[in-house]
């Protein structure tokens, strides 16, 4: 039952996909929901095409990463590009914590209700 870290394999591919950048954009949370604002066009980078296809319906960053089989960090960079070009919009998690440090009771009530109805 011991599992080591999984190797992502080919660093060259990562370099190509991101144009050599390694500074991921932390503006996108793991559960930020991404929505395409346009259809893919000819000549677009294939990863951008895939993202625009996947995000026709709202899709969390982690799901995009899992679908593309790319590390989160790389997906953040790709999403940052698309966002800069206005091709996707991002629905960020509502500030999960109030000033006091805990989520609001109203939000938690909604979560409880949803869970109890499972």
């Amino acid at each position: 039952m011991t599992r080591g870290p999984v190797d992502i394999g080919d660093p060259d591919r990562l370099y190509m996909v991101t144009g050599g950048r390694t500074d991921a954009d932390d503006a996108f949370d793991l559960v930020t929901l991404i929505v395409s604002e346009c259809e893919p066009t000819a000549g677009m980078q294939s990863e951008h095409v895939r993202i625009l296809e996947i995000c026709r319906h709202p899709t969390a960053l982690v799901e995009v990463a899992a679908e593309l089989k790319l590390p989160i960090t790389v997906v953040r960079i790709l999403l940052g590009d698309l966002h800069d070009m206005g091709q996707i919009s991002a629905r960020h998690p509502r500030a999960a914590r109030s000033v006091a440090g805990l989520p609001e009771t109203a939000l938690l009530q909604e979560v409880l209700h949803g869970l109890r109805n499972l």
């Binding site: 949370d29 969390a60 982690v62 989160i72 999960a96 979560v111």
Partner: protein, 205 residues
């Protein structure tokens, strides 16, 4: 509802178009404690796998090259999803509890509602580090005891509380990670705990 193997669609089903709020709960625990099983039991999608790559400046300076060495670590984690309603979707992340994954934790924990610490009573020490970090981060959590069939000791929850040095305020619950209704109860106990704390806080001006 209590069935062990619910049929999950092979394809990832899309979220509702009105979905706007993503929420996070982390399930943490030692190797083989049942994290993926729990996530699968309550998720509406087959658990998906993804990776986080972290580049850190190395501890030392590479003498020969004269440059700071960088180490890259990759860690895989899985996650599932529960649509709570048309607008809210809850993501459950299964995260390994070992010390060498601390950096993943810092990432996962930021903005998380809370955590479930899954404990196997045959290897309780596997959860010490996780509990320590959660307390350090001030992340609310519940402890769920996954009772395996060949666990002959059958410690009571109170005995486990003692062994883990948990305060009275930390909710503890028995669970069977293979059973959907049981996992649902675990999540409800966590959010109930959060709700009680938030309510108390709102009450104090």
């Amino acid at each position: 509802m209590g069935s062990a193997t619910s049929e999950l669609p092979a394809r990832r089903t899309p979220l509702a178009d009105d979905a706007e709020t993503g929420l996070k709960i982390v399930v943490v625990g030692g190797f083989g404690v049942g994290k993926t099983t729990l996530v699968r039991s309550v998720s509406e999608i087959r658990p998906l796998n993804t990776e986080e790559v972290m580049t850190q400046a190395g501890a030392g300076i590479d003498e020969t090259a004269g440059v700071e060495r960088k180490t890259t670590t990759t860690v895989a984690f899985d996650f599932g999803r529960i649509s709570l309603n048309e607008r809210m979707v809850l993501y459950l992340f299964g995260a390994p509890g070992q010390e060498r994954f601390w950096f993943l934790w810092d990432r996962l924990f930021s903005g998380t509602l809370g955590a479930v610490v899954l404990v196997d009573t045959r290897r309780m020490q596997d959860s010490w580090y996780a509990i320590d970090r959660l307390e350090h981060h001030n992340t609310p959590f519940v402890v769920a005891v996954n009772r395996f069939d060949d666990d002959t000791d059958r410690f009571t929850l109170e005995e486990i509380r003692q062994a883990l040095a948990l305060g009275e305020h930390v909710p503890m619950i028995d669970c069977d990670a293979r059973v959907r209704s049981s996992c649902k109860d675990v999540l409800v106990s966590l959010v109930d705990h959060l709700y009680t704390m938030a309510l108390a806080q709102e009450g104090t001006p």
